[in-house]
């Protein structure tokens, strides 16, 4: 598991840099992070399909659930960047280890649920850690100002780069710690409740969370913009017409 954790650390660190250092290249979005985690942690041939498909499901749900249409200052503190990596890593690593006890019910829905719920918890925990990092940043900024006034430009730069490294390390350690904790909890809990996890039950919970994700998406993409409802209705109608045409055996 050590090599997998190194990969989780690297990924978590890079995505934290994207979110917190200022890259803002969208790498830190849950969908991208979860898919990258799936590709990085794929255990090989017997599990390859699930190791790719489950993170994709986790990423899609987290993307819709964790996209907040408010301005950053008005948002609740959530670390969406590492949430995708942690959720997908817990799902894939647990799937590989716990498969003898907990089978793949209804297309891996159970593991998508495990990954999504873990990712949501990780987003909340990561948000709290981000707040403590900012308090530390203020102390570093004061020190940086002192160094600048003393004309110690090299020391100022070194201090700044240490701030960049701190973001990477925070993302890496948080991703590894949360993944280890998640896999440990899953190993402890899931085999004990394996009898309760039926296909229909997992399906109900999955459908409810998918519904919540779409409700959150409605808030973000339709309610927030002006005339959003009108444009969404046009999009839905056009797509339905195309689908009906295809269903009737016609061609586009």
């Amino acid at each position: 598991m050590l090599s997998e954790l190194w990969r989780v650390a690297l990924l978590g660190g890079v995505l934290a840099m994207d979110r917190s250092a200022g890259w803002n290249l969208m790498l830190g979005q849950p969908l991208v992070g979860a898919c990258l985690a799936g590709a990085f942690l794929s255990p090989g041939t017997p599990w390859e399909l699930w190791a790719l498909r489950i993170p994709l499901g986790v990423g899609v749900l987290l993307q819709l659930l964790l996209t907040d249409p408010a301005l950053p200052a008005a948002q609740r503190p959530r670390d969406a960047a590492t949430a995708g990596v942690i959720g997908a890593s817990i799902a894939v690593l647990s799937l590989e280890r716990l498969h003898p006890f907990v089978p793949l019910t209804t297309g891996g829905i159970l593991w998508v649920l495990v990954g999504t719920l873990s990712g949501l918890l990780a987003a909340v925990g990561g948000g709290w850690m981000e707040l403590s990092l900012r308090a530390r940043n203020e102390r570093s900024a004061r020190r940086a100002e002192e160094l600048a006034l003393e004309g110690k430009i090299g020391s100022f730069e070194a201090l700044y780069w240490r701030g960049v490294a701190r973001i990477f390390l925070r993302g890496a350690t948080w991703s590894v710690a949360a993944t280890v904790l998640g896999v440990a909890l899953a190993s402890l809990l899931l085999p004990r409740i394996a009898g309760l996890i039926t296909g229909p039950r997992a399906g109900w919970i999955f459908a409810a969370i998918l519904g919540v994700a779409f409700g959150a998406g409605f808030q973000t993409h339709v309610r927030a913009p002006r005339h959003g409802f009108r444009w969404a209705a046009i999009g839905a109608l056009v797509t339905l017409l195309v689908l009906m045409r295809l269903h009737a055996g016609g061609e586009l």
Partner: protein, 296 residues
Amino acid sequence: MSDSDPLAAPAAPGPGAPGPAASAGAAVPGVRGIDLVRVESRALYIQALFSAERQQGPGFAFALLPVLRRVYTTAAERGRALARHMGFFGTHPVLSGIVLGVVARLEERRAQGLPVSELQIEQTKRALASPLAALGDPLFWVTLRPLAGLMGVLGMAVLPLADTAGPDLRVLVCPCLALLTYNAVAIRFRVAGVPRGYAMADDPGGLLRSLHLAELRRFFERVSALAFGALVALTLWPMVQSADPAHEGFAHKASVLAPFVLGSALTALLLRRWPGRSVEIAFAAALVALVLSSRF
């Protein structure tokens, strides 16, 4: 890239005016293209020491350092200029290059001894940062970022499911769609920001108008709503089609679709009352669904 054009506006009285070179009478090297490239690359780390008090202030100073190194000759001058930029600064990170470019030009002129005061540089910086944040945040954070994520999700709904023999290519295509949607717009502003700000330092109003940020936002808002409508149709269609494979009737179909429909409707209502609480709502929905699935 040095320039000797006088500023259009007269210099405001302030500390440090005129610039250090005027008193020293020394020749000051102008800013080179490579300096602007360095500023641009450092702007990628503008939020590394982000705090509530100064926001991107330390990052702004860090990004501007290649220019300060070029135009100020002594460590003391560089240090003083660096410390001046360490105060509060907040704008959208993608658009920060524009302010950096303008300030690079003003610092260059100040170092050359032209009548540019510290106060004038600070005022120009703030006058640009605020409207760029007011226009950039709604465009990039509120509209384009959610749209990019949505395009990735839409990719999953549109692309066919992989067969069991091969890998699922959607895992590659969906994140790429999200990355391309966002960066097709953002990278343009990133790359052009510093040189554009440097070239248009004398016309901040024209600079802001030339970016067309409000128009871009309106366009992407519509695309976002359109794409979400398409996603709803693409998700509901197969759900409705496959909800009743044994033709047990409407009641069966409704019971299968109920968790999704109720979850969506209740979330839309609850988020109106408690915005940003989707995590809490998701856990509550999972719990309710677990309890209800045990009863039926």
